[in-house]
Symmetry: C2
Subunit: 510 residues, 2 copies
């Protein structure tokens, strides 16, 4: 036990309780980096993760970040009592799981809580995630994982309402169905408190696209108010923090772009549960080399979603969709927002594939919710769309989230720098390399620059003559446009039929 003098340090803790200790004091306390200490002041005790420093802290000093003791007087310069603290039991559970033992629901719950309250280090949390690769999660463990993620966050609730939701596991550029499906469902009398992601490695997430038209960062109380008022919303999930455990674990699987199955399932369904949804449609795009490689893998994943749903009290249906080409014409926040609005407005130029996919998905949910008989959901969705009721509802939602009252596609503007990428010979478009299309759009500035991205003139099967455009790149800055054009000239992301004929075996295509 030591008495140390607090020095507040201007470092962001990222929500972690970190104590910086000089190496001599650390030796005296018998602690190393990632060990824990209890710090006591005025009979209040709190646990911190130790970071041993050589020079930054002098002996006798204790570095604390932000102001860890809430609502307390200034701590800087005060003397506190520091002693070595026990490692939480959850650390032992993680080791046990990594070495092959299944855990109880209580143990899983304790791990998730300790992750949320930073009582476990990142290193320990990574070992927990990694354990699923050698020791498959049992149904009990998976259910506990999802349940603990729900309990660790706040939840929405709309008593007496038919609450539904949807989720797409992603990986398809332009695929902005949510912004069409939600207003159709709400217009049909359903309640849809939809929370969506921002892009991580794609040109745009639904939250980025919606943000072109209105704010997507609302507190959970504001979200509740909006949904009660207009029947639905489309907001950024990061601002409502329905599942802080999931938010933390996602950061840790990001560097390797890992999608460990139990964490994927628990992450998605825990957020749907926290939205207050009772019925959920999951869209799984299937594409060779994509997140889900083939139909069999898709079916397995689908059955896992359905059975976890049962455990959580969610009625889940799953649809496998084609994920090997972009949906819609626009790729990038503003370009996708314009696509969505044109579909809602019933415009001639609206992309047919986006409209059709949105109608399919909305139709299925209308059937799940009992609004339409089985087999007739699409007709109902189409009617709501054509009648303009979906557009009105969408405009209400945008307005409730702080956007313009009667938003229209004409309001959306794109980056003023643009350049077309042309065919250098007559050809037929066989398909798209989604990763390359994504790279070009991101090089142009998406998703940070809302007006940046790609507008496609071609679909699979389109015949193109030499000199005709495949697509147009938009950018808000000349340099970024030049960079994106250079990337596109390296590889334009279009797979042509003639190139297929030229490759024996055609490996990697389709």
């Amino acid at each position: 036990m030591l008495k140390l003098k607090v020095r507040l340090v201007d470092i962001e803790s990222g929500g972690k309780s970190v104590a910086l200790v000089n190496k001599d004091d650390a030796a005296e306390l018998g602690v190393h980096t990632t060990d824990r200490v209890n710090i006591e002041r005025d009979a209040k005790k709190q646990t911190f993760m130790v970071e041993v420093t050589k020079n930054m802290m002098r002996p006798g000093e204790l570095g604390l970040l932000d102001n860890p003791f809430d609502n307390e007087e200034a701590l800087d310069g005060k003397i506190v009592t520091v002693e070595s603290a026990k490692t939480p039991s959850s650390s032992g559970y993680i080791k046990k799981r990594l070495l092959g033992t299944k855990l109880s629901s209580e143990e899983i719950t304790e791990i998730i809580n300790d992750v949320v309250y930073s009582r476990l280090s990142d290193i320990e949390a990574v070992f927990f995630m990694a354990s699923c690769y050698n020791n498959e999660f049992s149904e009990e463990e998976l259910t506990a994982l999802a349940g603990a993620m729900v309990s660790a966050g706040r939840t929405l609730s709309f008593p007496g309402k038919d609450v539904v939701s949807k989720h797409c596991i992603g990986g398809v550029p332009g695929n902005r169905t949510t912004m069409i499906v939600v207003p159709i469902l709400v217009a049909a009398g359903l309640t849809v408190p939809k929370t969506s992601a921002r892009a991580i490695s794609s040109p745009a997430g639904t939250a980025d696209v919606m943000e072109v038209l209105c704010s997507v960062e609302h507190t959970i109380d504001k979200v509740s108010f909006i949904v009660n008022k207009v029947g639905g919303c489309i907001v950024w999930n990061g601002a409502v923090s329905l599942s802080p455990a999931d938010d933390k674990l996602n950061q840790l699987r990001y560097p390797l772009r890992l999608d460990p199955r139990p964490f994927l399932l628990a992450s998605i369904l825990s957020k749907k549960k926290a939205e207050g949804a009772k019925k959920v449609l999951i869209d799984i795009p299937v594409a060779r080399g994509g997140k889900v490689d083939n139909e069999e893998e898709g079916r397995t994943l689908a059955s896992q979603f359905i059975s976890l749903g049962v455990k959580l009290g969610l009625e889940v249906e799953v649809v496998l969709t084609a994920g090997d080409h972009p949906i819609g014409n626009g790729i990038g926040p503003a370009l996708e927002a314009a696509d969505v609005l044109m579909v809602l407005e019933g415009k001639q130029e609206a992309p047919l594939d986006l409209r059709q996919k949105a109608i399919n998905l909305a139709g299925l949910i209308l059937e799940m919710a009992g609004k339409a008989p089985r087999g007739e959901g699409e007709i109902m969705a189409e009617e709501i769309l054509f009648s303009g009721r979906a557009l009105s509802k969408f405009q209400e939602i945008v307005h409730a989230q702080g956007g313009k009252a009667s938003v229209a596609s004409a309001d959306v503007s794109f980056g003023k720098h643009k350049q077309r990428i042309l065919a250098d010979a007559d050809c037929t478009v066989f398909g798209f390399n989604n990763n390359q299309i994504t790279k070009i759009a991101r090089s142009a500035g998406a998703p940070k620059n809302k007006g940046a991205g790609i507008y496609l003139f071609v679909k699979r099967g389109t015949k193109v003559k030499k000199g005709e455009p495949f697509y147009e790149i938009y950018s808000e800055q000349k340099e970024k446009l030049d960079f994106a054009v250079a990337v596109a000239k390296e590889d334009n992301g279009i797979v042509m039929e003639r190139s297929v004929l030229g490759i024996v075996g055609g490996a990697g295509i389709g």
Copy 2:
């Protein structure tokens, strides 16, 4: 690409190249925390790991820790070019390995190099270590791992000399054989450049005990000089940094106290290889519930050491020893140093078990090195010890490492506060709870306070009368003594025969 103004930040990087970036600039660059950026200045380019900050860095600022560009003029306030950098290929190899694929030697080597030069994040390195639990290391992978650990650090070399070494995988309090074995071997004409650890969770490591008598922190060049002069050394491995890869990975397995087998094997033998040793004896203490639980496990581990040794060009022999009770009477740096010196001095009070174990180990190495015929090594070791030549050689080593010229056990002093722990009834000592003995010694201040620890009056089988002492606790501070005594009164760490008789089945004892 962005131009940002450098702000040097007073944070210890721990050897990592970290770039602190404001969230707006990060979005502009399209990077997230744990992504990488290239920073260029005056045509020099270096890669940094991104840490996104909300407020700590203002937009336009780039926070760098320490001075990352070596030998350069002051960077603070200078403008540098920052752009998003590719993830190193090694990150992909780790993902591949975690998902079940074996890696090539080249891939393993690249991972280890990227760990050493901080091109991989801690998160990625943890996933690499965790991958060994679901995807066993092949012989090729294990060999590459150990080889890469050697190549990534500096190595010692003593041409024309018979270089030998030893290593104990640990877990036994008081077991300080190295300080007796090394001088016996050197006195016999062998070269022993021994590097040893400090305690992490034990009351003392060999480096901590040696440090009671002389400095153990020497540069690799100094170590080379000492060994060439006197034939051997006993120094702290952390100061010579023979295997920086291993040092980094050890930090990551510390929080869960993990001993992933391939990393344990590669860690130990890579250090022996880097010492320049040709022949190595490994001591594996076996104890129920210890690092190695039973003889079978010990034999498996032994064969792995031997076959990895062959791959690395090391002749390895392994001895399984009893690990269920302390060796020697003293536990704690000064108390163990006194034990060692008394054995070397041939004192009546010297602990017999420590002397016998040291003679056994030294004898085996003398036989391996061809200094004694098989079966006669112990006799030779005993002669060298009894003749006083081992003591003289030890004194030479201590002196060469900056200690007193003719160090003796009488020079060693213990903590001035002490208290005996007494038997509360007549009994026979059945055994020891090593973990509890360790806890008591550490509570008294070991290893930080050199004079703190325990002096045992009893061994297994000792008959003790009520009121006679089991051991004496030493401490440099009264409060620590009181604390250690309180811990000992909770559980004194002694297992008595009468308590065995009282427990049906005797679970957990022996």
